[in-house]
Every structure is written in structure tokens, then in C-alpha cells.
């Protein structure tokens, strides 16, 4: 999907501290209990053969971050909390057990799929996005921390079920799981009852519990507004992904910065990382549409058609889901874009997709008129339409104006004899001097002359006595026919499907 060749590497976080946690003013001061736990984890005596240090460290960081986010650093009994290597070992055993020993159900829990998990799994299949392949382990990573307190709870955690489902599934689990698991369930329940969870649950947790899909995709916890794009090669961890609320702020921030600084590299990079965060969290709503529209417009303005095309492809899907946005504008762009790429198959498809209501909208109508004018070679009408393009269609038409001018020149050179006035050519080919203040016929003629000379028309320009300039069309035929053919040869865009 988002196969942009631009790699923007960012340094992986190496420390235990979470640099961006405004909600954690005490981030530097880990409680002594936690430090003790870390010490135990790295104690040579507690090492388990086969589980290397780095893995342990990573897992350790995971455990503590989770606890910190849930503000449970103080509530967890760190002296008895299972060490990371123990967790890993148990997980591996579990995996081996499920992988081989049980003959019929490869995964015990596939027998009792909680409804939400099932829905989520379906969603996963549909999307086929290998960047987002959130595994069960991934879901594991977002399990509320209190479940980690008890070793016996491990099994539940591994199943990737949330608290809500856990309740629903409790009875069945009691039947299926070993006695150990059952005990732990009771324990966990009791702990919750006695307020082991903080009275004010962190926003992340509460949002998870309230959301209709508790077992849904990853929900980020990163609070930074700005984030560079980095092409994922593995499932991202929540702390580097920004949740919805942060992304909303980020979009406004980027828009403001774009208006102020007009730095495309920055904007493109930021928007790509936003698109990635949206994708990995499966967020498809108005914000998604806004982000893609914003990126598409900026890319158009900067003539970055590769990025533009990516956004456009996504927008098509999003508009089908009726999430708002500006379909009219982007259908128009799409038509103009296909005109640019000269892709007849796509044009057929886009025409087939249009409803009669679409066709009535002014933006779409304009784009269709452009298409029809070009199809019949009516350059006169095309250049009028070029001057009246709504929205940002002008940027797309700029991409084809040069080659259409050459096409028009080829036709005119063939048809007009012996010559025409430069003035007529300048007007017909829609050269305009609007960047240089009010209409200045000299300036437009100069532009037109430049254009003619650039394509080898210089020998055919003739200055008459009265100061008028004529162009000898009859003689320039071959030159402009060649230029036209060259201009239409090969339209190549990166990222074009």
C-alpha cells in the first residue's frame, strides 16, 4: 500500500525512559521496588539458559512501560512479579505446547473465539497489510498490567483477550484451562474488586475499555506531535504510535507549519508517518480522510504525483465508506490525473464508476469536459477550460499543458497557411501574464515566443514592418509534429499502479 521509496530512518529508542510522557512528571525517579525488580531481572542467578540478555531487557522494558502507563508502578508488588525471562519461558512453552501436543485444535482458544476477536480477525484478513500484521503477541502487549501480576494469568494474557472478554469467557475458561489458570482468574477478579487498579484509570486504559472493539488493533500511546516517517519492517510497538487524539492535533500542527514554512520535505514526511499511524491502528474515519486529502493537496501543489497517487488510491476506498470529505474535488482530480497518464483502461473504469449525480457536480463536470475536449482534439475548448479549472485542478492541468500546446501547434501548423499572428497563437494556447500584474499583451507574446523557440520554432518567426510578429505555420509542420510525438511518448510516474 504505502510503498514509498523514501526511507527516513529514526534512531530506535534505547533507554528505559519514555522521553515523551507529559503525564509522567516523575519519570526519572523509578520507585525502589521497580529498581529492585530490574536488578533481579539482570541477576546472573535468575538467568534462564536460552533466553538472551537483550530479549530479557526488551521484555523488561515492556513490562515496566506498561505498568508506568497504567500508573501502577506503585501498586504492583514488584518483589513477587514474575521476571521477564520467566514470562518469556512460559510463553515459549505455551507456544510449543499448542504447536505440537494437542492434535485437534492447534490453538485451544480457537475453540472458543470471543466474538470481538473474531471480528478483528476478519478485519485483519480483509486488509492484507503486511505492515500491520498484528499478532496475538502484539495484543498481548496491550493487556492491562494487573493481569501480569500473577504467573497463572499468563495463559489468559497469551490468548490476547481483554478484560471484557475475559469476563464473558470466564466460565468456558474454567472448563478448559488447568486448575492453575482458574485460580488465577479468581485472584485477578478479587484484586480488581479490591481496587488494585487505580481509581483514576489512565486515559489509554479507559479508552480501551470503552471502545466497542476492546480486542481491536493496536492503540498507540505516543504523545509526540511530530514524528518522522519510518517504513516498518515489524509490528510497531504502541509507544511509538500516536493515538487518535494526538493525530488530530498533529494534523493541525502540520497544516499550520505548512502554511508558515512551506517545507515540503517536512510536511510529506510528517504526513506519511501520520498515515502509517492511522493504518496500524486501523483508524478509518473523518480524520483519515482529512489526512489523505491534506497530503494529496500538498503533493499536488508540489507536483509530487507519486505521493498524490497513493493518497488518491486510498481516498477512493475511504469515500466508498462514506466518511465525508470532498469526493467531488478528488473525483475531478482523478479524472485529470488519468488524462495525464493517458491510461485508457483506467479512464474506462472511472467512467464506469461515475454516478449520474457525480456527473452533475461542477468539479466533475469540468474534468469530464476537459476529457471530452482532449478526446476530440478540440484544443480551443481545452485551453478555455484550462483557465477555468476549479479547486486545484490547475496544478494537474499544468502537468499536461505543455504537451497539449504542442499537440495544438501540430494541428494548427497543418491547417493554417501560410502564417498566423503570434498574438493569435499566444491567446489560443492560453499563455497568460497574470503573474505579472494586469493583462500585458507583450508579456503573453513573449511567453509564447519562448515556448515556440524552445521547441525549435525559431526559424519560422517573422517580424513584419508594422511591428507585428507572424509565425509561418505552413513551414513548421514537421517540427511540431515531431515535438508532439516526443511529448506524448512515455508518461512515467513512480508509484503508478
Amino acid at each position: 500500500m504505502q510503498t514509498a521509496p523514501a526511507y527516513t530512518p529514526v534512531a530506535a529508542r534505547q533507554t528505559l525512559q519514555r522521553p515523551f510522557m507529559p503525564a509522567q512528571p516523575q519519570k526519572q525517579a523509578w520507585p525502589p521496588a521497580v529498581r529492585g525488580y530490574v536488578g533481579r531481572a539482570f541477576d546472573p542467578e535468575s538467568m534462564i539458559p536460552g533466553i538472551e540478555g537483550p530479549i530479557v531487557a526488551e521484555r523488561l522494558r515492556d513490562v515496566i512501560t506498561k505498568a508506568a502507563e497504567a500508573r501502577q508502578l506503585d501498586t504492583i508488588d514488584w518483589s513477587t512479579y514474575p521476571l521477564p525471562q520467566v514470562l518469556i519461558k512460559a510463553e515459549r512453552e505455551q507456544a510449543a505446547f499448542h504447536g505440537g501436543a494437542i492434535p485437534v485444535p492447534a490453538n485451544l482458544y480457537s475453540l472458543l473465539p470471543p466474538p470481538n476477536v473474531q471480528a478483528w480477525a476478519g478485519q485483519l484478513n480483509k486488509r492484507k497489510n503486511d505492515e500491520v500484521e498484528t499478532t496475538l503477541e502484539e495484543e498481548d502487549a496491550i493487556t492491562p498490567p494487573w493481569k501480569k501480576k500473577n504467573k497463572g494469568n499468563l495463559e489468559d494474557r497469551m490468548s490476547g483477550k481483554s478484560k471484557a472478554q475475559e469476563k464473558k469467557q470466564k466460565k468456558i475458561i474454567l472448563l478448559h484451562a488447568n486448575g492453575f489458570g482458574a485460580d488465577s482468574d479468581v485472584l485477578a477478579k478479587r484484586k480488581q474488586r479490591f481496587g488494585m487498579t487505580t481509581p483514576e484509570p489512565s486515559p489509554y486504559l479507559s479508552s480501551r475499555d470503552d471502545s466497542p472493539e476492546p480486542a481491536g488493533p493496536l492503540v498507540g500511546t505516543c504523545q509526540t506531535i511530530e514524528k518522522s516517517y519510518f517504513r516498518l519492517t515489524a509490528p510497531p510497538s504502541p509507544e511509538v504510535v500516536r493515538p487518535f487524539a494526538v493525530l488530530e492535533k498533529a494534523l493541525n500542527h502540520i497544516r499550520r507549519k505548512w502554511r508558515e514554512e512551506h517545507n515540503y520535505n517536512f510536511a510529506c514526511d510528517q504526513l506519511k508517518s501520520m498515515r502509517q499511524d492511522l493504518t496500524v491502528q486501523h483508524i478509518q474515519n473523518e480524520l483519515t480522510v482529512k489526512v489523505y486529502e491534506c497530503h494529496a493537496r500538498i503533493a499536488l501543489e508540489m507536483k509530487d504525483l507519486g505521493e498524490y497517487n497513493q493518497c488518491q488510491t486510498q481516498l477512493r476506498t475511504l469515500y466508498k465508506m462514506n466518511l465525508g470529505g470532498n469526493p467531488e474535488e478528488f473525483i475531478a482530480y482523478r479524472i485529470l490525473y488519468i488524462i495525464y497518464t493517458c491510461n485508457r483502461t483506467d479512464m474506462n473504469n472511472v467512467l464506469a464508476d461515475l454516478t449520474s449525480a457525480d456527473k452533475q457536480k461542477p468539479g466533475v463536470k469540468h474534468a469530464l469536459q476537459v476529457r471530452s475536449a482532449l478526446a476530440s482534439g478540440n484544443y480551443h475548448r481545452f485551453f478555455r477550460l484550462y483557465l477555468s479549472a476549479p479547486f486545484m485542478g490547475g496544478y494537474l492541468l499544468d502537468m499536461i499543458i505543455q504537451r497539449e500546446r504542442l499537440a495544438a501547434m501540430a494541428a494548427m501548423c497543418r491547417a493554417y497557411k501560410p502564417d498566423v499572428s503570434l498574438n493569435y497563437l499566444a491567446e489560443e494556447l492560453a499563455f497568460s501574464s497574470d503573474d505579472e500584474g494586469p493583462e500585458d499583451p507583450d508579456a503573453t507574446q513573449r511567453q509564447c515566443l519562448e515556448f515556440l523557440c524552445l521547441h525549435g520554432g525559431e526559424p519560422f518567426v517573422e517580424r513584419k514592418e508594422h511591428g507585428t510578429v507572424r509565425f509561418q505555420t505552413g513551414k513548421a509542420m514537421a517540427v511540431f509534429e515531431g515535438a508532439r510525438a516526443a511529448a506524448f511518448r512515455g508518461v512515467d510516474i513512480k508509484g503508478q499502479i
Binding site: 467512467l351 464508476d353 480551443h380 494541428a411 493554417y416 497557411k417
Partner: protein, 486 residues
């Protein structure tokens, strides 16, 4: 009795009759024995199907199959048995309106895939002879049909829409492009892969030609085209064409040696593929030969009404692309007689043809607009649109002729047509026929009129030049409108 299946099987094996053999593993019932599938299902049960089949295939005195062959057929018929169970229960559900939604077409599709695989293995292990290739036709053909069915029921499950087709696996608009963008084609894409496997299986056969699976190539290729068209991935068809044309002379029998049905269909698809890639010369050639063959065979078999309607349908399909092609290549319009043969063609092309003929731009625009949905669906809109050039040619020609003759310069010479035509005369004609050349203020945009004339000259519809400063168009004295006798 379930015997018809076995007598047919034995007869087919004895006579080496591939088509008869294929009927024994087909999901469709032979007219002679409409209850065949039910009987086959009741003849045994899932537990003893293997044993029962072994008796029929290995210990049957009527059959002389070697051990490998019979065990392969055993596999095929076992898979076919499970498939039959699925199909019948799906059909039963389908025919009961309140349970229609429960029909498990996905299951039918998957179990048919097992049949396909079993047959496929028979060929990869070189156990099945080349004369049995109609079995490949059957497995491939129904693979596509059941895939469509499974996709449809998946879509319908979401839309809660259920059509009650008379036939259990009703054939829908087969050759159309699937334009509904929201329907999913997961199974059909899967089916395309499996049919492609069969294509590769036949293409890679190195046996001598008289005993080669290559005889199945065009049938399978046609099926692939059909599938790709429906999947809206026409470009994939080009791979098939390429691998067929990559076969050196002598490696592949000439197309003319294949069954006529394969030939016509192949020519048709080759033509449409060329049409879609704007290679109109090739399109014309392929479509024309398909049309001729089709016309020929309709004379042969006019007696059989069923074949006749199929032929009519095929002819209409070919003409749907041949008519726009001719319009472009040789600027020829279909005659009313040709169109009158089919109501479908009449409604499709009559309005636009008459508009072009009478140089009526208003009618042309209206015809293009009213037919737009169908034209776009058939992918002929962009081609028909170019009929406007011919229409304008006709209009300008009328202006030229209406200009009359100039007095002969010398006594006795034939009078010459007036070749200097003022631009405003063309403008008036365009205005009359509904061209939108107004300047928005009630006047005429002379530049646009010139542009239209310039285009006609550029595209070689008209010979001459525009003298802008004098406001006239100077037309060639001889053949001002090439190909029209003027």
C-alpha cells in the same frame, strides 16, 4: 439406478470418447438421466465410498484400467462424491426460498476444487491420456462458475439479496465486465489461478502433437480470457496470448485445426483485447474472421433453435466491437439491415449511427449520453465518441457541396466546385446542427469553428488549409473529402 454413470464411464473408456467421459464427472445432469447426481449420492455413503468405488473401478470386468489409472479415477470419483453432496444440499437450500441464504456455495466451490486437483494429478503423473482432455474443460469451466457463485453469495450475504435463478448454477452476464466495484472476487481470483495451472499443464506437454494436451490450450485460454475480463484485469490476458504465440511452428497445431467453437471464441477475445489496447487494425482482423466463422456456422445449424440463439448472441457480441472498430478504421457505418437483425444491436447503435450519417451533432450527443452506461460497460464509449470526427466530416462536406459550382473558366470545361469556403459558412452549419460553438454572448466563437476545421484537416478528413487573415477555408480541388467521392 446409479448405473448410467458407470455405463457411460465404461463406454467412454472403451471408445476413448473424451466428451462422454467428461459427462461422468460433470455437475450438470445428462438429459437422459436427470437424476444422476442424486442417484450417485444415494448409491453409497461417505464411509464406504472408497470401497464401493474400488469395486466399480478396479474390479469391474467391463473396464480395463491399469492400477495407476484406476486409483487416480478412484480419487477423482471420491472427490466428486463429496462434491455432489455439497452441490445437492446447496441447490436444495437455494430452491427453498426461506433457506436460500444458507446455500453453501463456498463449500461447493471448495469441494469442486478437490475434483479439479484430483483430475489435475491424473495428468501431472501422466496417467490420463490426451483423449480425456474434455475432463479438463469440465473442471475448469465449472471452477469459474462456482467461483462466481461463491463470490455472489458472499456479496449477497452482505446485501441480503437473493436472486432465485431457475438453474441452480445460473449463468449470468458472462462476457460482461464486472463493473460493480463493491462486489468481491476472491474466489474468482483463486479460480483464475487454478485455471492458469491447467493452462500451464497443457502448454508444457511434450508428447507428440497427435497425443498432446495442447489440444486443450485454446479452450482453456478462452476460459481464462473470460475470467480475466470479469475480474477487470484484461492485461493478464496478454500473457496468455504471448505464451501461445511464443510456441514455435510445429509445437502447436494451427488454430484452424481446433474445434470451431474454440476458434471463434479465441478470435473474438483476441479481437476485443486488441480493441481495448487500441490496436484497431488487429482488432478488425480478428473480429472479422470470428464474425465470418460465426456467420458460416449459423447457416449450418439453423435448424437447431438452441444453437441458433447462441449463435445470434455470439454474433451480437462480435458486432458490438466490430462496429466501433470499422467506424474508426475505415469510417464505415453499419447498414440498417445489419442492425435490424438484432434488437440488441439496434438499440445500441442505431441512434448514434443515424446521427453520424445525418451529421446531427445534437442527436449524436443525445445518443452518446443516453447510451453512456451501456457503452462504458462494454468499453466502447471512448471509441464511439470518436465518431464525432466522422460526423463533422459529413457536415463540412455538406457545406462544401451546398456551395455549388463556380462558372467554368473556359468554355467546354467541366464546372469546378467552389473551393474557397468562408469560415462563417461552416460556423452557420455547426450552429444549425447543435454544435456548442457559441461564445457565451449569443455570438459564434469563430476560433472554435476554425479549431474544428483545423482538426478535420489535421486528421485527414478534409484536404485544404485555413487562410486565417482572409477568413476562408481553401479546399483541395481534387478529393477534398478523401474516401467520400467528393
Amino acid at each position: 439406478m446409479s448405473d448410467s454413470i458407470w455405463t457411460d464411464f465404461a463406454t467412454a473408456q472403451a471408445r476413448e470418447d473424451g466428451y462422454l467421459l467428461a459427462t461422468t464427472i460433470s455437475p450438470s445432469r445428462p438429459p437422459s438421466d436427470p437424476a444422476r447426481l442424486y442417484n450417485y449420492l444415494r448409491w453409497t455413503n461417505a464411509g464406504s465410498v472408497q470401497t464401493d468405488l474400488r469395486y466399480k473401478l478396479q474390479y469391474n470386468p467391463d473396464l480395463h484400467l491399469d492400477k495407476k489409472e484406476s486409483s487416480n479415477w478412484l480419487e477423482v470419483f471420491t472427490a466428486y462424491y463429496h462434491f455432489t453432496a455439497r452441490l445437492l444440499s446447496a441447490e436444495e437450500a437455494q430452491n427453498t426460498s426461506q433457506r436460500a441464504r444458507e446455500a453453501d456455495w463456498n463449500g461447493v466451490y471448495e469441494s469442486w476444487k478437490d475434483v479439479l486437483n484430483a483430475v489435475y494429478r491424473g495428468y501431472t503423473s501422466d496417467v490420463f491420456d490426451a483423449w480425456t482432455i474434455p475432463c479438463l474443460y469440465v473442471v475448469a469451466k465449472y471452477m469459474r462458475i462456482f467461483a462466481i457463485k461463491a463470490d455472489e453469495s458472499a456479496t449477497a450475504a452482505a446485501q441480503r439479496e437473493q436472486r432465485d435463478t431457475g438453474m441452480a448454477f445460473g449463468l449470468q452476464d458472462e462476457d460482461g465486465f464486472n463493473t460493480s466495484s463493491n462486489s468481491k472476487n476472491e474466489k474468482l481470483e483463486d479460480a483464475a489461478r487454478h485455471i492458469n495451472r491447467i493452462f500451464a499443464l497443457c502448454l508444457g506437454d511434450r508428447s507428440p502433437l497427435e497425443d498432446s494436451r495442447k489440444w486443450a490450450l485454446y479452450y482453456i485460454a478462452n476460459l481464462l480470457f473470460k475470467t480475466y475480463f470479469r475480474l477487470n484485469s484484461v492485461p493478464l490476458s496478454k500473457n496468455i496470448l504471448r505464451s501461445l504465440s511464443a510456441q514455435a511452428a510445429g509445437e502447436l497445431p494451427p488454430l484452424s485445426r481446433f474445434p470451431k467453437a474454440h476458434q471463434v471464441t479465441f478470435k473474438y477475445y483476441s479481437g476485443v483485447i486488441a480493441f481495448l489496447s487500441e490496436d484497431y487494425a488487429a482488432a478488425e482482423e480478428h473480429l472479422e474472421s470470428a464474425y465470418k466463422m460465426c456467420l458460416h456456422s449459423s447457416n449450418d445449424s439453423a435448424a437447431q433453435t438452441a444453437t441458433a440463439t447462441a449463435t445470434t448472441r455470439n454474433r451480437d457480441l462480435i458486432l458490438t466491437y466490430l462496429i466501433p472498430t470499422k467506424l474508426l478504421t475505415s469510417h464505415r457505418l453499419p447498414t440498417p439491415t445489419l442492425l435490424s437483425q438484432s434488437p440488441h444491436l439496434t438499440s445500441l447503435f442505431a441512434p448514434i449511427t443515424s446521427a453520424i450519417k445525418h451529421a446531427d451533432l445534437r442527436a449524436f450527443t443525445a445518443a452518446l449520453e443516453s447510451g453512456e452506461d451501456e457503452f462504458v460497460k462494454r468499453r466502447i464509449y471512448l471509441t464511439l465518441e470518436r465518431g464525432r470526427d466522422i460526423l463533422l466530416r459529413n457536415l463540412f462536406r455538406k457545406v462544401f457541396i451546398a456551395g455549388g459550382f463556380e462558372a467554368a473558366a473556359k468554355e467546354g470545361e467541366a464546372p469546378a466546385r467552389r473551393t474557397r469556403v468562408p469560415v462563417w459558412e461552416f460556423a452557420a452549419a455547426l450552429q444549425m446542427r447543435g454544435a456548442e460553438v457559441g461564445d457565451g454572448e449569443g455570438g459564434v466563437d469563430g476560433d472554435e469553428v476554425e479549431c474544428l476545421v483545423a482538426n478535420a484537416i489535421y486528421k485527414n478528413f478534409m484536404k485544404g488549409y485555413i487562410a486565417r487573415d482572409r477568413g476562408i477555408v481553401v479546399l483541395s480541388k481534387a478529393g477534398a473529402f478523401p474516401g467520400t467521392g467528393v
